[in-house]
Symmetry: C2
Subunit: 239 residues, 2 copies
DNA sequence: TCAAAAGTGTTGGGATTACACCCATGG
DNA sequence: CCATGGGTGTAATCCCAACACTTTTGA
């Protein structure tokens, strides 16, 4: 019985009441063909509500941190390991899960849709959903999605995390479309370019992407060093 | 046995491993006589490390949310109930507490030092410490304090929470000193006044506080409605 | 009358907004 | 050669930072 291991290590806190702890990840991706921000969902595996759409999650195991748990489940379902993943918020209402007293730590993740392993995706029945047509999810997961989306909108103004959603080489039109989709409003093309260039974050490549126009749009990558610097100290990216 | 109640409600998740969950609150106060930002600590009541300085915390009980737990312990130790309290971050490293596998949800609180009940403070052996001379704390509590302080500095630029640390009636010199203490840098007096007035958050009273000068400084209170509005939508308060 | 803290405005520079046309190319 | 999307510059405005003197009054 697995709770035995736990009991053994509890030398001190007799009489205190342990609680089940889960992690649930809100995983964002940007489909730049459709120009849509999406989140990754799967069908819940356990009762109650088995088979219903759910955030991707797992119970936290005795010998792993919550971070490790969130990384583990993300790796299992997408094959990805070097991704942007951070803790968002802990949901602790006593009645949030009718199955038991379960707390959930929500994680916020940004991934590049193209990178993930399609076989794994199919294997586990995960699916990308447009953020404006998320189905009814189990428990309080719809609330988690709403709050994660707010977090994304706030965050993108302070840190250059938008890039986590784009492929390594991307064009400015793609970048602009991403920000428009996140902010849910049209942005001025010229001012956006001016601002993004002024950050010194972009490295222009020689190649062009001609998949969307005859003229072709220059590809860029971002300067890893500058990126880290800005991630650390933040910036102000109001538009 | 209290864990029985828990077992009873766990109809579904057999074989999953529950974890002890605690809350720990980083409680900030501003002593405007000393012009110092402080945090409230107490001496830990349980082994291991009983008697050492610690953040104020408690285990989360089976029938309370983590928020309720944090409010409960704050009320017990300070007598205060209408305070600014929000969840900060969950600490989940497996080895963070040698006593057992315990997660801790850190809470961030801002209170008005004068409001709290001195008798309770004395009764529980709590004490205010300058943020620049925090003693060694149990477990990872020093880390929590550092991160909470960073959070305060970030937050104060986006939301008008500074007021939570001041008495209901306060003077502009007090407010400026508070911000200087939080930002840890001198601020331009005239620009600060201009900016704070432009927010439309302050209501000037007829009274003056003459405790710090012969001329006396006008007392202000803040406009609750405007405050709520700005708390909701945020602002930019770079200085 | 003077010391000590409170209060008050202006100006220059940098950033942000609004806005319209030329460019390159494949079909 | 033309339709389509990619790319560029400037002027007006707003916001922010820097900066020094006057006011009040109790001792």
């Amino acid at each position: 019985m697995s709770s035995k291991a736990y009991q053994l290590s509890n030398k001190y806190y007799y009489g205190s009441d342990p609680i089940l702890v889960a992690v649930d990840s809100i995983i964002f991706g940007f489909d730049y063909h459709e120009e849509k921000l999406k989140i990754l969902l799967f069908k819940r595996l356990v009762e109650p509500f088995s088979g219903q759409w759910s955030l991707i999650g797992s119970f936290v195991k005795p010998h792993e941190s919550a971070d490790a748990s969130a990384y583990r489940i993300l790796k299992e379902l997408t094959g990805l390991s070097n991704v942007f993943l951070e803790q968002l918020k802990c949901y602790t209402e006593t009645d949030r899960d009718p199955g038991a007293r379960v707390m959930s730590i929500a994680y916020f993740s940004l991934i590049q849709i193209e990178d993930h392993n399609d076989e794994l995706i199919n294997l586990h029945g995960t699916r990308w959903f447009d953020i404006d047509s998320i189905p009814d999810l189990v428990l309080d997961h719809n609330k988690m999605v709403r709050e994660a989306l707010e977090h994304l909108r706030t965050m993108v103004r302070r840190k250059p995390v938008g890039f986590e959603l784009l492929p390594n080489h991307f064009t400015l039109p793609q970048l602009i479309k991403l920000y428009q989709e996140i902010y849910q409003k049209p942005l001025d093309d010229r001012n956006f370019r001016k601002k993004i260039h002024s950050l010194g974050l972009l490295k222009k490549l020689d190649k062009k992407d001609k998949s969307t126009s005859k003229k072709g749009a220059f590809l860029y990558k971002f300067d890893q060093k500058k990126y880290m610097e800005l991630l650390e100290k933040g910036f102000n990216f109001e538009l």
